[in-house]
Every structure is written in structure tokens, then in C-alpha cells.
Symmetry: C2
Subunit: 234 residues, 2 copies
DNA sequence: GTCTATAACGAGATAGAC
DNA sequence: GTCTATCTCGTTATAGAC
């Protein structure tokens, strides 16, 4: 009996995955705006109404894709972090740039999925609560790098403008106990700016402007890393 | 006869404007995804197919709105630049932050139009040639501020990483003859990062993260301005 | 109970005839 | 400019199959 239920559950999982895979393919082909339940069903040899057993609506399917996309960038970033070289005094900066590059590489390889999570909110846009966990994965990884660097060799955090003292304290408390307030502000700022660089490239704003984009990005990412104090001041 | 043609042309211009106005209203209300030709036509008391005399397709209407949006940010930025206080020695930095604030204010006031131009490319994403002029307006304004600052008091441009020398020379030539190569790179980088900050705020990535967003942005914008050398090194 | 198929409703984009 | 026709879409109700 449990075997039967297990089989059913397995089938359900497989079909759910197949739907998401096909949806992802259409996403890559035509973008989120043109993602159509009917087309997905057609390609899978089902009838459109059957999909509603798996996703209550088109927006729910999109939400699932959003969560998967956040997890995919997060996984790419974490893998880069884990396999980065760790030799001597630039170790933290090396890890930082490795993560930045991984995020950018993923974004360029999956532009439509990237647009789904870091572009304009697509549907009627009510980001469900389920997305906040996966969404913060990459950001928290960047935080952990900075925290490790700070623990290792108390680098001097950047100066903190007076109006931000309260905000900095709140942020630092939320991001981790052993994080200097000024650093927390710098981190969030670097985080947003990093994705600004990637978004401009993925969304075509650099067309006819920046040509050697690898070098441009690497240099910018490293500068961001320096700004959050990943290198000891000489 | 020319009078008749003139009248026709005038009517055409007026109706085109009316269509765009109504489309903009719907855009502001519901976002680009829900912009519907039929609803626009209904509101204007026409029949939907009549719109095709003015815009060959829904995407063409969107393209027109995109161009208008670029022009609107550009105008807001230029106005802020023109009316910013110019009292010594922080004049250039003051102008820079004024422009940044104006762009952010416009974005927060018109989130859906902002999403149209700085979010995910909506249709099949082939940015028509018509958009590149208006699109560069804001960027060129930032360039002009940096150029003025550099002319005034040859500030030291930031260090230029070796792999970027070629790119920097090309960029500087494109952006203006009297611009140090290293500065051109810093400018493009600051430009992308500025919009990264704004996009994260407009698209909700700062929800439950940054609270005092005015102070956060002002401080970040000023730091960006410093990075492109708008203050003489003390 | 859980899935799938049929059929239908309402809304939309677009093309062509008038 | 309008009217009409065609096609696609999201979604739901309903009825039958495992």
C-alpha cells in the first residue's frame, strides 16, 4: 500500500519536474511573457486542464520556476565558493570574485531565468513568502565571505555616514552577530551594485558601450570586494 | 490642400498622443504584462483594430512607451542637474548626487515605466535602434558631470587595471575626447551600479532588508560620485 | 481519491473586407 | 475608422478512468 502511494508520489514528482523542464525550455526560447500553459501541455502530450492538478495557476508555475532559479544561482555561487583556491593573503578576495564570476556566468547562460528573478516582477507580482529563503542564498554567501575575512584579520570597515548608524546596527544584527555595522551597509550596497553590473550586461544596456565585458566585470567585482574590506590595508 | 493634410496630420498626432497617454495610465496601474490594446481602445471609445492604424502591433506601442520613459528619466535628470546648487568646492559632487536622486525619485514614482526600460526586456527583446538615443541621455549626463569636474581641477582618475587599458581607451574616445581613459571605465561602472541600487529598491529586493532607504541611497550615490573623482583629494 | 479528457466561457491580438 | 472572423490563451465545470 505504501508502495502504491510511493509509486503515485513518484509519478507526480516526475510529471511535475517534466512540466517545469518544458516550461523552462519555453522560457529560454520566448521569455516569461510568452510562457503558455497550453503550449507546455501540448509539448508534453497532455491537455491543458491536466496541468492544473500540478500547478493551480500559471502564476504558481512561474513561482516554482522563480524558486528554482534562485536555487540555481545560489548553488552555482556556493559551488564556486567551495572550489575557489584558498592560498594566502588574498584568499577572501579570491573567493569573493569567484562567487561574483559564478553568478555572472550563470546569468549569461540563463538570461531568461535571470530576468525572472532579477528583472521586473512579472505576473501580478506578489512575491510569495516561499521565495525569500532561496532568494537570500547568494546574498548570505557574500555576507559569510565578508564575515570570515573580518574574523581572520579585523580589516578596517569603511567609514559609516552619520545618518546610517541606526540602519547599520539593525542590519548587522540581522545579518550576523559578529559583523561590524559599517560593514553590513557596505555589503548590502556591494550586493546591489554587483547585480546592477550583471543586469546591465544581461539586459543589453552594455551593447555598443562595453566590449571587453569579462575584464570589465572582473575588475569591478574585485573593486567591490575591496570595498567590503576583503584585503588588509597595506 | 496642404491645410487638409495638415489637419489630418494634426489629428493623427493628437490621437497617437491620446493612445500613448491612456496606455501609460494602464501601465502605471497594472504593469506592462497587462497592457491591452483592447482596453486602451475601449477607454478611448474606439474599436481595438483601429489602434493598428497608429501602432502596427502591441509591441510597437510598448516600444513607443519605452522611448518616452527614457526621455522622462532623462528630462528629470537634466532638470535636477540644471537646478542643483553650484557653490564651491563640492559643486560637481552636489550635481552628481542631485542627478542620482532625481533618477531614483522618478523610478519610485513610476515603477512600471522604470521596469519597462531597466527591467527585463519585454517582448522578443530586440531593442530597436530608435531607443539608443533616449536611452543614453542619462548616462551622458553623468559623463558630462565627470568631464566638467576633471576639466576644473584635474582630479586623479582611479587606478586602471592592466587588462582594461584597451577598453578604457576605446570608451574614452567614444564618450568624449577630454576624458581620461581610467575615468571612462569608472563612469560606466558607476552608472551600472547606480541603477543596480535603484532596481533592487524598485523591484523589492530591499524588502525586509533595507529600511532607511533614503539615507542608504544618498550615501551610496555619494560614494559612487567620489569614486569617479568628483571631489579633489584632500 | 486522483488523474485525465471534453467542452465551454471570456478576453485578447491580429488580419482583412468594407 | 468599423465589423467580422480567426486564433491563442487562462481558467473552470463536468464527467469518466484508474
Amino acid at each position: 500500500m505504501t508502495a502504491v502511494q510511493g509509486a503515485r508520489a513518484r509519478a507526480r514528482i516526475e510529471i511535475t519536474a517534466a512540466i517545469k523542464d518544458e516550461a523552462r525550455r519555453q522560457l529560454a526560447a520566448d521569455g516569461a511573457a510568452k510562457l503558455s500553459l497550453r503550449a507546455v501541455a501540448r509539448e508534453l502530450g497532455m491537455v491543458s486542464s491536466a496541468l492544473y492538478r500540478y500547478f493551480p495557476s500559471r502564476d504558481d508555475l512561474l513561482t516554482a520556476l522563480i524558486i528554482d532559479a534562485y536555487d540555481a544561482v545560489g548553488a552555482a555561487a556556493e559551488k564556486a565558493h567551495a572550489t575557489a583556491e584558498t592560498d594566502a593573503p588574498r584568499a577572501h578576495l579570491t573567493r569573493w570574485t569567484a562567487v561574483c564570476r559564478a553568478v555572472r556566468a550563470w546569468a549569461l547562460a540563463h538570461p531568461h531565468e535571470y530576468a525572472l528573478i532579477y528583472g521586473s516582477p512579472v505576473p501580478g507580482y506578489t512575491a510569495p513568502q516561499d521565495t525569500v529563503g532561496p532568494a537570500s542564498r547568494t546574498g548570505l554567501l557574500l555576507v559569510s565571505i565578508a564575515r570570515a575575512a573580518y574574523r581572520d584579520k579585523g580589516v578596517a570597515p569603511p567609514p559609516l555616514p552619520a545618518p546610517l548608524t541606526g540602519e547599520a546596527a539593525r542590519l548587522a544584527a540581522a545579518l550576523g552577530p559578529d559583523l561590524p555595522p559599517a560593514l553590513s551597509i557596505a555589503l548590502v550596497s556591494a550586493w546591489a551594485q554587483l547585480f546592477g553590473l550583471i543586469s546591465f550586461e544581461v539586459f543589453g544596456q552594455f551593447n555598443r558601450v562595453v566590449e571587453d565585458r569579462d575584464a570589465f566585470f572582473d575588475s569591478a567585482a574585485e573593486r567591490l570586494g575591496r570595498e567590503v574590506g576583503l584585503l588588509p590595508k597595506p
